[in-house]
């Protein structure tokens, strides 16, 4: 190459670099300027109007909440459907909803609900008690395969429902139930006039599938789905027939529109929040992303809402099905509670919180976290970090280092080793398992980690094909009587030994009895006392180990107001009807 082209190339390259740098800098200045300008032209909080843009990781498989339990379907349901009563996710109090009032019989078995007058579906069809009856019918129809069924049974028995007139629904419980009317928060009301034919034809499970024409998806909630661009977004407009008004008599919701952009990748989702293309995320901010968002918080472009300690924590548990260990010599010590207690002593929870949650977590000792203020018991047995106590417990189990390697062995020479399954792609779980493996190594316990797909993990768990699992289990309600599937030995979410015909251990039998009693007790103080006992038995036997509960943070644009966060999902949109957004003043549109 001779000198002239080389010089030309160099000049061109330098020019390109300089131009890019200048555009970058001027862009930043312009954006900073725009930020101020936006501040100037923005009106005071506008109680009505505007669009909120948020994101979804995946698209809805179905719009029928009665047969689908997934985040997109749940969000669709919250925006467009209704309940007779609802639990305020922030205060945990029961509020009237489609039923404006109710009364309860002296024996606490019969609830008589009076429905609101003049409520209509978005297509103008009146809402009546027939819709409520139909919804119960669909939930209890075996052919419908509803995912809500187990949440609407008491001691395995369905509720008896009748409708004396168009505005009255009478619900009879088969037995006294502590949560009372709160149980009805589990029921989403389905439109009889749209779904009756599908139920009659035995096709309810396929009704309101993802390909359903939007006109058929009638709403009784604050919003209605008006556009679904597959793979891109769902657009919800205000339901003009929504029944609810604010204290000043203004119709709700305040927003004109809610848009869910489908963003499958969590990192891309975060970048879109940073760039202002999203107003909020549906998932909590990961601990490692908090530092990334801080500058935007300092620039007042973003709010980082701290919701407090989460109600759900990652859980580590062994397979406690006796059949699993019948022919495996490790069962002699792996099934013993002393082994689990040793592990609990071996994990430094403070260090765990710092490593896994970068400090944004609190140590816990059981499945009920301090985030669940009504039911948390601080007085359960704790296992402070102590390798000496852990070693003593392991020695008591006959585990000692009997050869030249670094691992313990039992009397028969079987190495103290087990495998742990966890979800692939969940960064906090993957870090948690790594910390656990590192914490157990000094004790001489070997941990083999396998990160696998969620579906595969759940299948192996249900089939009992695992040594141990580290994953996250989300309770559907903060009230323990509404999570009996977890607590009862016969429950489908009794993760360490699912759906036992009879309790495998004495302490499980004891928990069964206490939980059934707790669920049937009406007096709240007595319910709390019984549940404290249950938590203590759980902590003493440690069928599942809990180390740290995360603090929850949600990233929300500063243009969004009147958000009432909750630690229950969906943390922000559960009260979408009251959310407002600041908008550019009509006379001077902002440049953004």
């Amino acid at each position: 190459m001779n000198r002239q082209p080389r010089l030309l190339l160099s000049v061109l390259l330098l020019g390109a670099v300089a131009f890019a740098g200048w555009r970058w800098w001027s862009g930043a200045q312009e954006r900073a300027g725009n930020g101020n300008e936006t501040e100037l032209v923005i009106s005071e909080v506008n109680p009505r109007g505007g669009t909120l843009t948020t994101s979804l990781r995946s698209e809805p498989r179905s719009f029928n909440r009665l047969v689908m339990q997934a985040v997109p379907t749940e969000l669709f349901s919250i925006l467009t459907q209704g309940k007779l009563v609802r639990v305020n996710r922030s205060t945990q109090e029961v509020e009237p909803s489609l039923a404006e009032k109710w009364s309860v019989s002296a024996d606490n078995l019969t609830y008589t609900l009076t429905l609101r007058d003049g409520v209509t579906w978005s297509d103008g069809t009146p809402f009546t008690s027939a819709d409520a009856l139909f919804s119960f019918q669909a939930v209890y129809d075996p052919k419908a395969a509803s995912v809500l069924t187990s949440g609407l049974l008491i001691n395995g028995v369905p509720l008896k429902v009748s409708a004396p007139d168009a505005r009255t629904v009478v619900v009879k419980y088969p037995a006294p139930f502590g949560p009372g009317i709160r149980l009805l928060d589990n029921l989403n009301i389905a439109p009889k006039h749209k779904l009756q034919a599908a139920l009659a034809a035995g096709k309810f499970a396929a009704a309101w599938a993802a390909g359903t024409p939007i006109a058929d998806l009638v709403s009784i909630g604050p919003f209605m789905l008006t556009r679904y661009e597959s793979g891109q977004r769902l657009v919800f407009d205000r339901n003009p027939r929504y029944w609810k008004k604010d204290a000043a008599g203004q119709p709700l919701p305040y927003l004109d529109q809610v848009i869910f952009e489908v963003v499958p990748d969590q990192n891309a989702e975060l970048v879109r929040l940073q760039s202002g293309q999203l107003d909020m995320l549906q998932q909590q901010v990961r601990p490692e992303d908090i530092a990334t968002l801080r500058p935007l918080v300092n620039q007042k472009k973003l709010q980082l809402l701290e919701l407090g300690v989460g109600a759900d924590a990652d859980v580590f548990f062994f397979n406690l099905r006796p059949a699993k260990w019948a022919k495996d010599p490790r069962g002699a010590w792996l099934q013993r509670k002393e082994f689990r207690q040793a592990i609990s002593h071996a994990v430094d929870r403070e260090a765990f919180a710092n490593t896994v949650f970068l400090g944004a977590g609190v140590p816990i000792w059981g499945p009920v976290t301090p985030g669940n203020k009504n039911w948390f018991s601080p007085n359960v047995t704790r296992y402070p970090f102590s390798l000496e106590r852990a070693r003593a417990l392991l020695t008591g189990l006959g585990l000692a280092n009997r050869d030249a390697d670094e691992w313990l062995e039992d009397e028969k020479g079987t190495e103290a080793r087990f495998s742990v399954l966890t979800y692939r792609g969940n960064s906090s779980l993957e870090r948690s398992v790594a910390v656990l493996r590192d914490d157990l190594k000094p004790l001489g316990i070997a941990v083999d980690v396998s990160a696998i797909e969620q579906g595969a993990l759940v299948d192996r768990m249900l089939g009992g094909d695992f040594d141990a699992i580290f994953f996250v289990y989300s309770a559907s309600s903060l009230d323990p009587a509404m999570s009996l599937d977890f607590w009862l030995s016969s429950g489908s979410a009794h993760i360490w030994n699912i759906a036992q015909k009879t309790p495998a251990t004495e302490w499980e039998r004891e928990i069964d009895q206490l939980m059934l009693k707790q669920a049937a007790t009406i007096d709240e103080a007595e319910r709390k006392r019984i549940f404290d006992q249950v938590q203590q038995i759980f902590a003493a036997n440690l069928p599942a180990l809990y180390f740290v509960a995360p603090r929850l943070y949600m990233g929300v644009s500063t243009r969004v107001g009147d958000v009432t966060p909750s630690i229950m999902r969906p943390q922000l949109l559960w009260d979408a009807e009251h959310i407002t957004v600041r908008q550019p003043a009509p006379s001077k549109p902002a440049s953004q």
Binding site: R6, T149, A210, Q232, S275, A456, D459, L462, A499
Partner: protein, 322 residues
């Protein structure tokens, strides 16, 4: 030529059959199914009823036979995930992917081939060294990192939309504005796809042209008085195209069947994302349909590459005649 095309068609059909059948059977054999996600929230009976409803309780052979008889009628079944016909979903998403793939191939070609010719025809010098270094860097960066970097740049500068294919207001736009809107969403995914390909093309073209330049017929052309540029354009470059066009077959196949990573990161609603969603949800029929479409595009890509090679390289035409 007719026999050649028939042979190619037969090969393509076999490829589609083998690939889609394998995808279906492997997805079926993998642990879990589409009901696994909700298995913890429902009792065993409810889950079993769902499996019956979806036909997943039938033996693998029965499911496969039922699917195969549908395929014979060009019916790839119904997506378990979206409850819509697989062919409808594929055709919607294939169009989106085709827009992206076409733009990416054009951009990769416009960048990669000229730079390859440039660097390959000069053994030394700062310019070729810079081109080589950039290409090696482009080849070394994993697609995920490259995509995220471009998305980050777009977010940082605000010059381009960070993701998606259209704006939320897109459906209300006039045709011209709508096309411009799509165009403004394209640069990030197109660059994410095209830059590594451009780097591959550059490296391949560079080596091929360097080899062709050493051929006696190129030296002879120079001896006949052609300038270096004329000699490259008329003789060395056509002769160097055989390996380059071979790469095009794979490029067309892989790009038109959709890129998992780029489409997921940039939220582009194409076939790659559809396959990703289908695999995650264990949607047997959608996985098989996506695999079949990938195989079709691979076969088509190879065919297009062969035809282009026959057009570009006289030796191939001569081989064909003999």
């Amino acid at each position: 030529m007719g026999r050649y095309l028939l042979r190619r068609l037969g090969f393509a059909l076999l490829l589609v059959f083998v690939v889609s059948s394998s995808a279906l059977l492997l997805t079926q054999l993998a642990p879990g199914d589409i009901t696994s996600d909700i298995a913890l929230g429902v009792d065993a009976e409810t889950r079993e009823r769902m499996r019956v409803e979806l036909g997943l309780d039938r033996p693998i052979a029965v499911q496969y036979w039922s699917w195969l008889s549908g395929v014979a009628r060009l019916d790839f079944g119904r997506s378990l995930l979206y409850s819509r016909p697989v062919t409808t979903l594929l055709s919607e998403r294939a169009l989106n992917t085709a827009v992206l793939a076409t733009a990416a191939i054009l951009l990769a070609t416009l960048i990669g081939l000229p730079l390859g010719v440039y660097s390959g025809s000069r053994a030394r010098g700062l310019g070729p060294a810079i081109v080589r270094a950039i290409s090696v860097a482009g080849l070394s960066v994993p697609p995920l990192v490259g995509s995220l970097f471009l998305v980050f740049i777009a977010a940082r500068t605000g010059w381009l939309p960070v993701g998606g294919m259209t704006s939320a207001s897109g459906v209300d736009m006039a045709w011209g504005a709508w096309l411009a809107d799509i165009g403004s969403h394209m640069p990030i995914p197109v660059m994410a796809l095209a830059l590594p390909l451009a780097a591959s093309l550059e490296r391949l073209q560079s080596q091929a042209i360097a080899g062709a330049n050493r051929e006696p017929f190129v030296a002879a052309s120079r001896a006949r008085g052609l300038t270096q540029r004329e000699s490259i354009v008329r003789h060395a470059w056509p002769a160097s195209l055989r390996p380059v066009l071979g790469l095009y077959g794979v490029m067309i196949g892989s790009l038109f069947s959709g890129s998992f990573v780029v489409e997921v990161v940039t939220s582009w609603p194409g076939l790659g994302r559809l396959m990703y969603d289908a695999l995650r949800a264990r949607d047997l029929y959608l996985v098989a349909g996506c695999a079949a479409s990938g195989a079709v595009f691979l076969a088509l890509g190879t065919l297009v590459a062969d035809v282009l090679l026959a057009i570009a390289d006289p030796r191939v035409r001569a081989e064909g005649r003999s």
